[in-house]
């Protein structure tokens, strides 16, 4: 994999999303700005493949869509996610929902300026979306792990219902700070960086299809019984966690007989302390206290050697991705191809 184009935007931003060719940027003052991403991309990469854009919000003014809108809660968001035309914002007061973008009768672009509280009574710390099935997971620290399941075809069975109308379920009462979807199940990380698979099975009874919660698997249980589940639809994947020795990775090869040997270690004896390890379609992203790099199959790509605030990956084409990295005073956008 290698970077083919790069745009660096100078500005004080806390979060970003790329959704339906629009760039959503959240600043530190509690405003959401929306821009036409295609125009930004072609304007800044047409002549030279690498460009530094100074001036932050002012420099992007000509690409703006709609007015800046207030972030619910009044400050920068804890996390954000798009699902089914709606923007979900995690704040200290709970999760808010508002329409993501709407074209008004006058043909103007508009993002909801008054999102409504969708789920209060918790302090969410991160969101994750399964856009294929309209499911949103909400990791809420000590409050536990929750899910909004808006799927028409996969109603949830076997979990405590928090709100029937809004289809909010409690997946686990144990601490969760991050989670992601693996097929129809949820894979969560707690504050101690231990991982758990909350395993669901699709239950078919005639025409009725439901998604039934079965049980939790610890990281060690997964290595013993569930590695096939993680490697079922890709030629190569991996399962990783942070240990005292560094980042432990078990490579998984689809189609081969399951045989778990010794793990590979990255950042062994390194002065950089890993803080998160998350797989993606580009490889395994390892975030440390002073940088970010991607661990691929037999390759390692350093993205930056400075502390990062957040990274987000979006697919451009089959093997091309946009990686957004938010730093103290800039956003770096890397267009990366997977060889």
């Amino acid at each position: 994999m290698h970077t083919i184009r790069q745009i660096i935007i100078k500005g004080d931003f806390f979060d970003c999303q790329l959704y339906k060719n629009n760039l959503y940027l959240w600043d530190m003052e509690g405003f959401l700005h929306v821009y036409d991403w295609n125009r930004i991309y072609y304007t800044f990469t047409e002549v030279i493949p690498s460009r530094i854009v100074r001036g932050g919000v002012k420099a992007l003014e000509r690409f703006r869509l709609g007015r800046p809108v207030d972030v619910p809660g009044g400050y920068f968001p804890t996390d954000t996610a798009f699902m089914g035309e709606y923007l979900y914002t995690a704040t200290e007061q709970g999760v808010y929902r508002g329409y993501a973008h709407k074209i008004t009768k006058e043909g103007r672009f508009s993002t909801s300026a008054r999102p409504t509280k969708y789920f209060g009574d918790i302090v969410p710390v991160s969101l994750s979306v399964n856009s294929r099935n309209n499911q949103l997971s909400i990791s809420a620290g000590d409050d536990g792990l929750f899910e909004v399941n808006l799927s028409q075809y996969n109603p949830t069975v076997g979990l405590q219902t928090i709100d029937q109308k809004r289809r909010i379920y409690k997946v686990s009462g144990k601490n969760a700070i991050r989670s992601r979807y693996v097929h129809s199940s949820l894979y969560s990380t707690n504050a101690q960086l231990d991982k758990t698979l909350h395993f669901f099975e699709i239950d078919r009874q005639g025409d009725l299809i439901s998604r039934r919660y079965m049980r939790d698997f610890s990281y060690l249980d997964i290595l013993r019984e569930k590695t096939d589940y993680f490697s079922s639809d890709k030629r190569y994947s991996s399962i990783s966690r942070i240990t005292k020795k560094g980042v432990e990775t078990y490579p998984l090869y689809h189609g081969r007989v399951r045989r778990i040997g010794k793990p590979l270690y990255s950042l062994k004896d390194s002065v950089s302390k890993p803080s998160s390890v998350e797989p993606s379609e580009l490889g395994t992203f390892i975030e440390t206290d002073n940088g970010l790099f991607i661990l691929g199959r037999g390759s390692r790509m350093v993205i930056c050697n400075r502390p990062i605030s957040r990274w987000r990956l979006f697919r451009k084409e089959a093997n091309t991705f946009f990686l957004f990295v938010i730093l103290e005073e800039t956003i770096e956008i890397h267009e990366i191809t997977k060889l």
Binding site: V125, G141, A191
Partner: protein, 191 residues
């Protein structure tokens, strides 16, 4: 004598609450924006009353470092309140939004810096055996206008500073943006 569950709960609460009579008391006044008219300031009188449970080692209460005296605890509290490092609530006054001091159930956060570095204020003492050193503390208004504080565990939802406080700390160069992400992400107990 019949003692109802309700009475036991009250007795238990009284037993675990800091005893305002036996403990040291530090009276203190500071200015906050008025909640009915946030354009003017009003004075708030409070008492800081250190909770001995955060010095006794009883689990799961975090423990102040022996080098941090109760007087120093109070000094950190004063700095926190004077600099508005407390939880706020949003009020609308003449169509403008303001963030004002929240009380009762107030919360505030503080730290001590030495040569530009955060000083260790104490350590955790959790039931699951975590005893990491911590560099921040949280203050809570246990009873109306009576506050106490303890070393904070950012992995706990209620110990994490609110965003208005994090923003003030960043604007004053105490922390950086990636520190904010770490704190609100719940993955670290301290910086």
């Amino acid at each position: 004598m019949n003692i109802s569950i309700h009475t036991i709960k009250i007795l238990k609460r009284q037993y675990t609450m800091p005893n305002a009579i036996a403990q040291k008391q530090f009276p203190f006044s500071f200015n906050v924006s008025d909640s009915t008219n946030p354009t003017v300031e009003t004075s708030v009188d409070v008492t800081y009353s250190p909770n001995p449970q955060h010095r006794s080692g009883v689990k799961p209460k975090s423990i102040w470092d022996s080098g941090i005296t109760e007087e120093m605890e109070f000094d950190i509290f004063k700095v926190a309140m004077e600099n508005k490092w407390y939880r706020t609530k949003e009020v609308t006054y003449q169509k403008k939004k303001y963030h004002v001091f929240l009380s009762p159930n107030g919360r505030g956060w503080g730290f001590l810096q030495e040569n530009g570095k955060f000083k260790v204020l104490g350590k955790l003492n959790t039931n699951d055996g975590r005893n990491d050193p911590v560099r921040f503390c949280v203050f809570e208004e246990g009873n109306p206008n009576v506050w106490h504080g303890y070393p904070a565990d950012f992995k706990r939802n209620q110990d994490r500073p609110t965003k208005n406080v994090l923003k003030i700390w960043r604007d004053n160069n105490y922390i950086e943006k990636h520190d904010i992400k770490k704190i609100i992400g719940g993955s670290v107990c301290t910086l």
